[in-house]
């Protein structure tokens, strides 16, 4: 696989609902991401190359692939439903963050239920974002910055392992990002759904305190 700087981001989407998998796939593809969907946490871990009984790998020296990591495909972000039978999205998040080979992959949680304690638990465990379902295109605009971080990190690691590789980010890419941020702001203003707005406003890291103001619990 070529390592062009503009290669697509690959998102792994996890949801036990076939309807929601179809939806998230379309949303992600519309946002120009490569998508793989699986219907369970254990399948997600399998895809990521982690076996369920692996937790933290014993300290390995420099960046080298741990013996049981069969991850062939690079995953730049995992987006997962919270409520799933067997392994919940939270369990999956934990397993990813506990794995030395996977912990840098950003994880986003989705849920149809607005439960503040659930949201904070996930964010504390390392989730980058928490989206209320149904997820919208405007929510996905928040994903790119998280993926950009990993992408450059992965590329640096690969550089160390291989011979020469030139890593660059095209200026056009950055311009696009700025444009998307502007569009996202406009969309947020137009959104008539107050609940969604409250969540959106609350999720930036600086505003931890204000996160749960104005949110009414929906059953």
């Amino acid at each position: 696989m070529g390592m062009a700087a503009e290669s697509q981001f690959h998102v792994l989407a996890v949801d036990d609902s076939i309807i929601d998998r179809k939806l998230i796939e379309r949303l992600l593809k519309t946002s120009s991401y490569q998508v793989t969907t699986v219907d369970s946490g254990s399948k997600a871990l399998e895809f990521l190359g982690l076996h369920e009984d692996d937790t933290t790998n014993p300290s390995t020296p420099t960046p080298c692939v741990p013996p049981n990591n069969h991850q062939e495909v690079e995953v730049n972000l995992v987006i997962t439903d919270y409520c799933m039978p067997g392994m919940t999205g939270y369990d999956l998040l934990k397993k990813i963050k506990e794995s030395s080979s996977l912990r840098d992959i950003p994880v986003v949680i989705m849920s149809s239920e607005n439960v503040p304690s659930r949201i904070s638990r996930c964010l504390e465990e390392g989730a980058e974002e928490f989206f209320l379902k149904p997820v919208r295109l405007s929510d996905l605009n928040k994903l790119k910055p998280h993926m950009m971080k990993t992408k450059s990190k992965d590329q640096l690691q690969k550089q160390e392992k291989q011979e020469e590789k030139s890593v660059f980010q095209s200026p056009k890419h950055q311009q696009q990002e700025n444009k998307e941020h502007q569009q996202q702001q406009q969309q947020q203003q137009q959104s008539g759904n107050n609940k969604r707005k409250a969540i959106e406003e609350g999720l930036s890291p600086e505003r931890t305190r204000r996160r749960y103001n104005g949110i009414t619990t929906v059953v």
Binding site: I18, S112, L137
Partner: protein, 149 residues
């Protein structure tokens, strides 16, 4: 009927579905995800919804026929139905599911039975409405017109 009349009929019909809360904003979101590269997206998602809902309604019926009702299992199914109806914008179905979950939590058998009846009713209504809408769209396309957004 000519294309323009059909198109007008469709627009009015859609408006009525929103007006009567059969559909909500989320359905519009689905339509916006459809394009020339994915021309059947809405029909595909809605078909999945029909299949999945029918499966869930069967499960709910069976669960409520048991001698000793497993309310947790019941709730799990309703939760799924609530989620999928919300995902496609089937607002009235979703609303009944919310009430249904309350009855499950309270282990109120009578309430659950009533809700099951209601949700079946709302589901069959929205199914008919959506199928009618899709048929209108097909008619427009067959007559050489384009489906209005």
């Amino acid at each position: 009927m000519d294309v323009v009349q059909l198109q007008r009929q469709l627009v009015d019909y859609r408006a009525s579905l929103y007006h009567e809360a059969f559909l909500d904003e989320q359905f519009t979101q689905l339509q916006e995800l459809q394009d020339e590269n994915n021309p059947d997206f809405v029909v595909e998602v809605v078909s999945l919804f029909f299949e999945d809902s029918e499966r869930l309604l069967n499960e709910l019926t069976k669960a409520l026929e048991q001698q000793s009702i497993d309310f947790k299992r019941l709730d799990a199914h309703v939760h799924q139905l609530k989620g999928s109806s919300s995902s496609i914008g089937a607002q009235r179905v979703q609303k009944v599911c919310i009430a249904f979950r309350n009855d499950c939590e309270e282990q109120n058998v009578e309430g659950c039975l009533k809700c099951l009846q209601q949700v079946k009713h709302e589901y069959s209504l929205v199914k008919t409405k959506l199928e009618t809408m899709f048929k209108l769209e097909q008619q427009i396309l067959a007559a050489g017109g384009s489906v209005p957004m």
